[in-house]
Point group: C2
Chain length 228, copies 2
């Protein structure tokens, strides 16, 4: 019926990557990542869509333990500051969460959006200039899904002071820090997101996030039992 | 060796989706998208990573031709304004590009970031609040890759005045317009990006975008012949 559809196993691979991807924080192994595999993952990221074919995503592969220790110290400061924003049970729960694995994972990848490039000649950015950042995020998601298929985990660390990351990794003013990722083999992929397993938040039903024609008009009616 | 790696066919499916995904503008068919397929794609998008498990992505499925005509008129105005920014050969080339398929594709999907939600309780956003937007972009890329596996094309239209899109689709101030997508069956997927085929821009070698340890330090040496 549809000649452009992938084979069943290939389609299943795509959905498996999407549903079995996890934000990994506590299950990293220290085993090194083979260079050809890392290159495959980075090339997959580099093939993300980009506005005007601008290709703004840049990747810094951080292995040096001294640099990672600086980033980890940055995380610890930001994490303490964030923890102070919660009270009572939320505060106690927050402090039990493991939210980064900067030293555990053998490789960190800092993902940047480079705005100082003639590539793309500005196409698609006149009315929505933020799409260069969004292109860079698409590269992150490609990397994450390809890694999952290859059996590697990724954790995205956003509890960081971007200015300090810039200083540590010599990032120029022309580039924007988009994502700081921890990458490595894992002992296991959890069945559900860590934050759900630990009671921080639960998945919204699909009905709650999809609208028809205009914002707020329901595309789907929620099932009577609340399931999606 | 790695028990968490997918089967070979499944891994190939993920890489095929990444490498064979295209930003489709000129090959859409008007055939309707079956409701179960659209729901699968939206559920795949809904399973994107999100900061603090906040799940900020919202999806408006736009089918109404009258609404799409308003968005198309918005595009035409933004496109004319953007075209005026180029001179000489670039201007002539720009005018030859087809950059949107709002009326051709049977379904449009407007993707928003809803900031007015208690979900996630702010986790991960104290130092990098922009990660709610980035979570929403991850949902776009999930949708795009799942669609490619199912044999459907997507085109991302960024040549739009966001304020006018908000008015057309009754988007409240609490939500940010992230992406406006055209979705449908296609007559063909091009072998290379349209903008490369038409001479607007060419893919950068991987060597140019990957650094080691610090920004600007080469992770890979470019091959002598410039190939990657």
């Amino acid at each position: 019926m549809n000649a452009h559809r992938f084979g069943d196993d290939e389609v299943r691979g795509v959905y498996r990557a999407i549903y079995e991807r996890r934000d990994v924080r506590s299950a990293f192994l220290s085993d090194p990542i083979p260079a050809p595999m890392l290159r495959r993952l980075l090339d997959a990221a580099h093939h993300a869509p980009s506005v005007g074919f601008m290709q703004p995503a840049r990747f810094i592969v951080v292995r040096d333990p001294a640099l990672r220790a600086q980033i980890h110290a940055n995380f610890e400061r930001a994490d303490s500051a964030a923890a102070a924003l919660y009270q009572d049970e939320r505060a106690a729960l927050y402090r039990r969460l493991k939210l980064a694995a900067i030293m555990d994972a053998p490789v960190n990848v800092c993902v940047l959006c480079e705005n100082d490039t003639p590539r793309g000649a500005g196409l698609g950015r006149a009315s929505m200039p933020e799409t260069s950042l969004y292109s860079t995020v698409c590269a992150v998601q490609n990397l994450w899904l390809a890694a999952r298929a290859e059996g590697l985990g990724i954790g995205w660390v956003s509890i960081l002071d971007p200015a300090q990351v810039r200083a540590t990794l010599a990032i120029p003013d022309t580039a924007t820090l988009v994502a700081y990722l921890c990458l490595g083999y894992v002992s296991a992929f959890a069945d559900e997101p860590d934050l759900q397993r630990q009671g921080w938040e639960f998945r919204a039903p699909l009905e709650e996030v999809v609208f028809a024609e205009r914002f707020g008009l329901r595309e789907y009616n929620a099932a009577p039992d609340g399931s999606s």
